[in-house]
Amino acid sequence: MHSAQDSTAIRPVMRGRTALELAFWLLAFAAILLFPRKLIILNEIAILALFALSLDLILGYAGVLSLGHAAFLGLGAYTAGLFAKHMNGDPLTGLAVSAAVTGLAGFLSSFLVLRGTDLTRLMVTLGLALLLGEAANKASWLTGGADGLQGITMQPLLGQFAFDLAGRTAYLYSLVTLLILFLIARVIVASPFGMALRAIRDNPLRARAIGVPVSHRLVTVYTIAAVYAGIAGALLAQTTQFVSLDVLELHRSADVLLVLVIGGTGYLYGGIIGALAFKLLQDAIASATPQYWQFWIGLLLVILVLTGRERIRAALTGISRRLAFGRATAGSAP
């Protein structure tokens, strides 16, 4: 009796949610026609969203705090850039190579990172990112050092679509990649594996006690997250056809944390919403005060933490529920 009533109440909401999600992605694709002048920043948003999604997998779902996630972004970017420059300019091959390299790096470094407490993890992730940054800086014969990696030329995507100046191909390429990886992440998160991750996040000791192989799970998710970040980096290198030391810097790791915090950790749309909000905000602030936008970003972080970052997420889910419910009741009216 009760349950029947509940499910009838929930089902339209669920259907409304799917409709909302569908609308969201349709809008994202329609943006090519709607905002043809904004495609470059839209491309950046898609890439940042993918990067944030990657961090969400380890931070939001597994509770691993990383202050050096840019290491994988940078590694992916440099791998893709170097591969395109010296081996083969095909974007998809480059993407696959980047994914493989960062996956390997993520797998190997996971053993270093996953020891110890939050603090040790913080230090080791930060240290690894700094190490890579220093390596890229010093190995200027390979990476171009402070001048950045120049002279990357990409072949057309699938042999058909050349990368244009307006960024149409670039945006579509990044968006499709984001969508595919998003769907994969959704499967991962909903699987028993994803459940185990959440159990570990909430209480590692209890998770171990009920038989979850904690370190195995963490190594796996860390590797997956590294691959995601590497692909984001590769997209960045391929679509801008340039890689600079900036991709390995601390502010990248900090920015992506902020993105995730704006959007909310522990649910997959968090990264996407956060990336959208962050980039638009950054764009607005940077055009107002180009030199000091970091101040406002910092202020935002401080305020967010002091007022409680859960509130944004609560507000967001409230809005989406209301939207979804409104739509559902409107849809089922006839």
């Binding site: 603090l119 230090m123 220093e134 010093k138 030199q291 936008w293 970091q294 101040f295 910092g298 401080v302």
Partner: protein, 284 residues
């Protein structure tokens, strides 16, 4: 060779003064304060403004830098930091990174992005020979001053009433409260003193570390290394770690300049893997 070691010791001493406050907030109070370097930078700029613009002698500018940053630390602790003591580490990291960004941008706005210099008194310039080895006088001054400070801190922590209150508050804040120790006051004083020491370190180190608006970001990792390698259960741990770090960094940059900071980062990661509790930590 000996000059390098002495330079390294001076460098390490400054690092110790800079990081010792962090070893208390991070290690003892378990608060991840990545903004510690911002206090150091504030102290450095204090000294710069005092010596170059207001014409205050350097030796007076040092206690001034300590006082200003200690007061700033006390205010910020009361207003912003205290509510965050019991929050998850993620919140603390985000908050303190935000503080760093704000500090960096503000200093950039106020003072410009170029490197700043303090005016040293004539007596501290140049070199003296000790046992035939030429030693920078300023470095010698740093070594003596920081050595005294370290000894003083150790004494305060181990022999005074305040020191035992702090140790009790850190071991178990609840029990300490039950014994009538005002834990909040102890933490606030400690935080202020730590910030003040960072400011003093920033003022002392402006000459040898270089001072520009990116200071808190550049040296954040160094402070963290000192704390994590030194462990947090004593003053001597971070002290030895800072000395080791200083000597290793100076020697590394002198002998293998192309490796840059590579050696330090790699060493830190290795050390953390072997001894996650720090090199000189007591077993708990």
């Amino acid at each position: 060779m000996l000059t390098i070691i002495i330079d390294g010791i001076a460098y390490g001493m400054v690092l110790f003064i800079l990081a010792v406050g962090l070893s208390v907030t991070l290690g003892l109070m378990n608060f991840v304060n990545l903004a510690h370097g911002a206090f150091a930078m504030a102290g450095g700029y204090c000294a710069v403004v005092a010596t170059t613009r207001a014409g205050i002698p350097f030796l007076l500018a040092l206690p001034l830098a300590f006082l200003v940053t200690a007061i700033a630390g006390a205010l910020l602790e009361r207003l912003l930091y205290r509510p965050l003591y019991n929050r998850p580490h993620l919140d603390q990291v985000l908050f303190s990174i935000g503080m760093v960004f704000m500090a960096v941008a503000s200093i950039d706005w106020l003072m410009g992005s170029q490197q700043q210099f303090v005016t040293l008194p004539e007596a501290l310039k140049g070199r003296t020979e000790i046992f035939g080895i030429p030693v920078g006088r300023y470095r010698l001054f740093i070594i003596v001053l920081c050595g005294l400070l370290a000894a003083g801190l150790q004494l305060i922590l181990s022999a005074t009433r305040f020191g035992s209150q702090l140790r009790a508050a850190v071991d178990d804040a609840r029990v300490a409260r039950g014994l009538g120790i005002s834990v909040n006051r102890v933490f606030a004083l400690t935080f202020a003193a730590g910030s003040g020491l960072a400011g003093l370190g920033g003022a002392l180190g402006a000459e040898i570390l270089g001072l520009d608006p990116t200071f808190p970001l550049k040296f954040m990792i160094y402070f963290l290394i000192v704390v994590s390698v030194g462990g947090t259960s004593s003053i001597s741990g971070p002290f030895l770690a800072a000395l080791l770090l200083g000597i290793a960094d100076v020697a590394g940059k002198y002998y293998i300049p192309q490796a840059g900071s590579f050696i330090i980062y790699a060493l830190m990661i290795l050390l953390l893997l072997v001894r996650p509790q720090g090199l000189f930590a007591r077993a708990r």
